[in-house]
Each structure stands twice: as structure tokens, then as C-alpha cells.
């Protein structure tokens, strides 16, 4: 079954990802997503009904991977001045952004 991503899908996904695409970009992405998803469709040849998903390789048996835990205690961190210095717009205490509520 070929992938059938539509232009509406591309625009919806772009909106979810906070990307604004030009019309040219949307067309290009439509073509590329369908081509890539067509290629990806070969995964459907595999029966994985009884296979557990693997999110992280430390879950594998016999790999010496392990969950690393530590005590939940506060540690020194970067000071506010150092961090805020990197902000595009700030009053020194808070990040400043354009208005949040539209209309």
C-alpha cells in the first residue's frame, strides 16, 4: 500500500511541530515524505505481533547496560545571570516573549 500523505497532512504536521512552510516547501515535503514512507512500508513484511518494542538498549538482556540511579538531592547549578545572558530578550529576571493570547 503506497503512502498517501496529503498536503493537508503536511500542513497539519507542520503546525504540530511549530514550523511554517512556504508553499514550495510544503510541496517538496509532500513528495519527500511519501517517498520515504513508501520505502519504510517494507517494515510491514515483518510479523511483529509478539515482539516487545525496544525503546532503549539498556533494556536488553546481557548487555551490561543498567539503570543508573542517584539520590534526589539538590546540586549547585548555573546562576541566573549566566543563563539569562543567552536569552534573545530578557529583563534580567524573566524571558520576554511577544504576547501569548491572540485576539
Amino acid at each position: 500500500m503506497p503512502a498517501n500523505v496529503t498536503l493537508q497532512d503536511v500542513d497539519r504536521v507542520a503546525e504540530l511541530a511549530h514550523l511554517e512552510l512556504t508553499q514550495d516547501e510544503s510541496g517538496r515535503m509532500l513528495h519527500d515524505l511519501n517517498a520515504i514512507l513508501d520505502y519504510i512500508a517494507q517494515l510491514n513484511e515483518l510479523d511483529t505481533a509478539h515482539i516487545a518494542p525496544l525503546a532503549q538498549v539498556s533494556e536488553l538482556e546481557g548487555t551490561a547496560g543498567s539503570n543508573v540511579l542517584r539520590d534526589d538531592v539538590s546540586q549547585p547549578c548555573l546562576d541566573r545571570f549566566t543563563v539569562m545572558k543567552e536569552a534573545p530578550e530578557t529583563d534580567g529576571v524573566f524571558f520576554k516573549v511577544p504576547k501569548v493570547i491572540e485576539r
Partner: protein
């Protein structure tokens, strides 16, 4: 002195870490003078190779002066004393620009050092600067950098591979003795192969990622490049080990990899998977890897076929897992806390969209869209979950193979370095450049790529040596055996 035509190769082998350290200890070489000579070479050649994005001269020269003081006092020198090292620009260095090859981090000067950066410096390394790469490490040719492609020192019309193209090319052109890169689907191994240097994919959890700008967190690894196996092993020994700042870093003890790399290989069982030698493998690459395998047999290794039948599903599974994770990781670039903000947006949501649209390049947008699509309602099971199940099949298949063999050898890439622009129009063709590397990424195992010959036109070919989790020592030994035969011939 720089002479010759524009396209003439710019290849030079750096001196070994051991030789340089010996000279620095004896006072024959000053670390400060060595650093200055590297900056001179960079100033002369970087305009043609585009390897470095920024230099950290002051920090390097201060460190070199410290090393020279230790040497002058006759005190013991740390393992990388005075060694000039370059850092891929996805790892942060305090106060130095960190771009990740993207415009969206414009103006960002991170206020802290990545753990691997701090460890290199504590071991005496002199850090020269930040190396060019594909934007957010997404690419196989370095052509996705917002700051222009790196050129392959062996042929300036060809790509260095990606995404750590700058890290590989810097070592090939002797613009650093060693470098760090990152590997999510092949981004250390494939450029090392294209540039004729050694590249290391450490086991997932072996090296801290604290201070690595994240691409796909269940896959991302940091590893070294060097001109020879022993130096690469020395660097891994310095950067490996548990870091309280990275909960995925393992507390497993760190062996003396450099010493391990010298151990003989006779009696080692080497697996050859037919799935890596099928359709699409360049005949010149096939021939070179065949010679490498013959060399291992001559050194006393026992070679045998192993079966990895799910190999062909690795690229589709990888591009779902990696893009899904990337779409989440790259959500942080929003123009609020650091980096680029699009000017004059009326509302917050418009500011997010404009900053990200203007800041990200096409490949990054493509992957964010693919990842967001794979995670979105109605497609999660069909794509993301399916890919994670196939990931388990691939990982368990490797574990089964490693019950019978100590290492697996394959070509690192199906072809030698391709021409600039050759694949930029076709994202899928570019993705297939990673066909032999994404498998180890998904399985979390380790590997080393080692130069294994050249095409008649002089382009390097790399052999990939894979070993089971936390068994870097074996991968180094096998790689060293291949290297030793080539040195002798």
C-alpha cells in the same frame, strides 16, 4: 607552505600521540609551539576545506602553556599532554560559539563544558576549536551544514561524509591530531571511512553525552577520530566512564584500551555477514574488504559466516526512531531562551514558527516533519511502535551472532566518498549511505572503522569492526591487526 592547484589533495598524517608526548616531555617540542603550528596550518588550509567553524585560540594557548610548565618542572605528563584536538560543533565548550551547523543557534555561547571536553582538557589535550558538521548531525555528506560543506582532503570535489565531516577531514588533513565526533546512525564511522582515518562508535552508555546537543537520545553517542587505532583507543580511554550528569552513562570499568589494542588476534572468531556484501556494494570496496579479511585470517583469526537477516529493515526502522526522537529533542529551539529569534512577530506562536522556519534548514525540517508524523495520532502504532519492535529484532539478532563470534567485520559504507551535490536532490539515496552503520546504532553495540585500502583513484575505503556491548577492546584489537598489515605492506 601551501602550494598546488585548488583540487590537489591536502592529506597529511599527524604524528602519533605517543611520539608527540615523548617530545614534549623531553623538551624537544613545546606544546605552545605545537599549538601555534596547528593554528598556522588551519589558517592556511581552512579556507579550502571548511573544516573549522570557530577556533578557541586563547583557551588552547593557555592550556599549552600549562603543559609546558609541567614538562619544564619534569613532572609526569597526563595522557594527552599538549595533543591538539578538535571538537565537533555539537559538543559545547564554555564561552565558544556552539552552532550544531545550524543558524538557529546564532549568537549562542554555552555557559558550560561538555563532560568529554572537560575530560580531554583534564588529560592535557589542547582544544583547537569547533568542527563543521551537518545541521544537528543530520546528514551523511556534511552538505546540510548552514555554514557550507566540508571538502574531502583526498579529493576536494568529494564529500567528507557526515555528519561528523569536519572531525574526519581535520584528522586526514592534519588540522588536528585527533578529534571528537558524534554518531547517531553512522556519523563517525562513515566519514572516517570516506576520509581514511580511524573512527570509534563506543557502546551506548560508554561515553557521557552531557553537553552534546541531542539529536536522537536513544541512539546518540560521542566518540573519537584519530590517524591510528592506538591513538583512537587512548582518546576513548580518556573520555569513557560514568558521569553523574548523564544517567545513561554506565558505571562499567574502563579498560586500558590502548594496551588492549596491541594484543594479538590469533584465535579470535570473526563473523562475516553476507547481508553486508550484497547488491549495491561497490566492487572496489568489496575487493578491499576481502583483502582485509584475508589479512585477519593470515594473522590467525578464524572467519566464519554469520546471519543477520533483518539487516535490510534497519534503514526504515532507524529513520523512524531517529526522526521521532529528533522531533521531540528539537522542540527546545523556540527562540525564547537562547539562539536565534525571528524579529518582529506579533504573537508568541508566530514567533515560534518564524524562528524555527528561518533557523532550520531543509533536512532538519524534513526529519522533524517525518518524526512528528510518525508520532501523531493514528500513526504511532503503524510507524513508531513498529520501528521499535524491529529494533528489538535487530538487536537480538546481533546478540545471537555474538554468541558464536568475537567480532563481525563489514564494509563501513557501500561506496567510497561521492561527489559534492551527487545525492542532495534525493533524501532517500542519501539515507542509504548509512545502510551498513545504522544496524549497530539501533543495537547499541560498539564498533571501530579502520582504513582498509584505497580505490585505484586514491579514495579511502574503511572496514567496520563490530563487537558486543562494552567490548571495545576486541574491536580495537581486530582494527589494529588490519592496520598493522597495511603498515607492513
Amino acid at each position: 607552505m601551501v602550494t598546488g592547484s585548488i583540487a590537489e589533495p591536502i592529506v597529511q598524517k599527524p604524528r602519533t600521540v605517543a611520539a608527540l608526548k615523548c617530545d614534549i616531555a623531553a623538551g624537544r617540542t613545546k606544546a605552545a609551539g605545537l599549538a601555534a603550528s596547528y593554528f598556522e596550518r588551519i589558517d592556511a588550509l581552512n579556507p579550502r576545506l571548511n573544516v573549522y567553524l570557530s577556533l578557541t585560540r586563547d583557551r588552547a594557548l593557555e592550556q599549552a602553556a600549562r603543559i609546558d610548565e609541567i614538562a619544564a618542572r619534569g613532572d609526569p605528563l597526563p595522557p594527552l599532554a599538549g595533543i591538539p584536538v578538535g571538537i565537533k560543533d555539537v559538543l559545547v565548550m564554555r564561552g565558544a560559539p556552539a552552532t550544531a551547523g545550524s543558524k538557529i543557534l546564532e549568537g549562542y555561547h554555552p555557559p558550560y563544558d561538555a563532560t568529554v571536553v572537560a575530560r580531554l582538557e583534564a588529560a592535557g589535550a589542547v582544544l583547537l576549536g569547533k568542527l563543521n558538521c551537518d545541521e544537528f548531525a543530520m546528514g551523511s555528506s556534511n552538505e546540510n551544514s548552514a555554514f557550507g560543506p566540508v571538502r574531502n582532503p583526498h579529493d576536494l570535489e568529494r564529500v567528507p561524509g557526515g555528519s561528523s565531516g569536519g572531525s574526519a577531514a581535520a584528522v586526514a588533513a592534519n588540522l588536528a591530531v585527533a578529534t571528537l565526533g558524534s554518531d547517531t546512525g553512522g556519523s563517525i564511522r562513515q566519514p572516517a571511512s570516506f576520509c581514511g582515518v580511524v573512527g570509534v562508535l563506543p557502546t551506548y552508555g560508554r561515553v557521557s553525552r552531557y553537553g552534546l546537543i541531542a539529536f536522537a537520545s536513544s541512539l546518540d553517542r560521542v566518540g573519537p577520530f584519530a590517524a591510528n587505532v592506538r591513538d583512537a583507543a587512548t582518546l576513548l580511554g580518556v573520555i569513557a566512564g560514568h558521569d553523574p550528569n548523564d544517567a545513561t552513562s554506565s558505571p562499567a570499568p574502563v579498560p586500558d584500551y590502548a594496551a588492549e589494542s596491541d594484543k594479538p588476534v590469533d584465535g579470535l572468531r570473526i563473523g562475516i555477514p553476507a547481508e553486508y556484501f550484497g547488491e549495491g556494494l561497490d566492487p572496489e570496496v568489496r575487493a578491499a574488504i576481502g583483502q582485509g579479511i584475508a589479512a585477519l585470517e593470515a594473522a590467525g583469526c578464524k572467519t566464519m559466516p554469520v546471519s543477520l537477516p533483518h539487516t535490510r529493515y534497519a534503514i526504515p526502522a532507524y529513520y523512524l526512531v531517529a526522526t521521532a526522537e529528533a522531533s521531540a529533542n528539537l522542540a527546545r529551539f523556540d527562540g525564547v531562551r537562547y539562539g536565534y529569534r525571528s524579529p518582529a512577530s506579533e504573537t508568541l506562536s508566530a514567533m515560534y514558527r518564524h524562528s524555527r522556519d528561518e533557523g532550520f534548514g531543509a533536512e532538519v525540517k524534513r526529519r522533524i516533519l517525518l518524526g512528528t508524523y510518525a508520532l501523531s495520532a493514528g500513526y504511532y502504532d503503524a510507524y513508531y511502535l513498529k520501528a521499535q519492535k524491529v529494533r528489538r529484532l535487530l538487536a537480538e539478532e546481533f546478540l545471537r551472532a555474538f554468541a558464536d563470534v568475537d567480532a563481525i567485520v563489514t564494509p563501513t559504507a557501500p561506496t567510497p566518498a561521492f561527489k559534492l551535490g551527487e545525492k542532495t536532490g534525493d533524501p532517500l539515496a542519501m539515507y542509504l549511505a548509512d545502510i551498513y552503520t545504522v544496524t549497530a546504532s539501533l543495537a547499541g553495540i560498539c564498533g571501530v572503522t579502520v582504513p582498509c585500502g584505497k580505490t585505484p583513484a586514491g579514495l579511502p575505503i574503511g572496514m567496520q569492526v563490530l563487537a558486543r556491548h562494552f567490548n571495545e577492546s576486541t574491536a580495537f584489537r581486530v582494527a589494529r591487526a588490519v592496520e598493522a598489515v597495511r603498515e607492513a605492506s
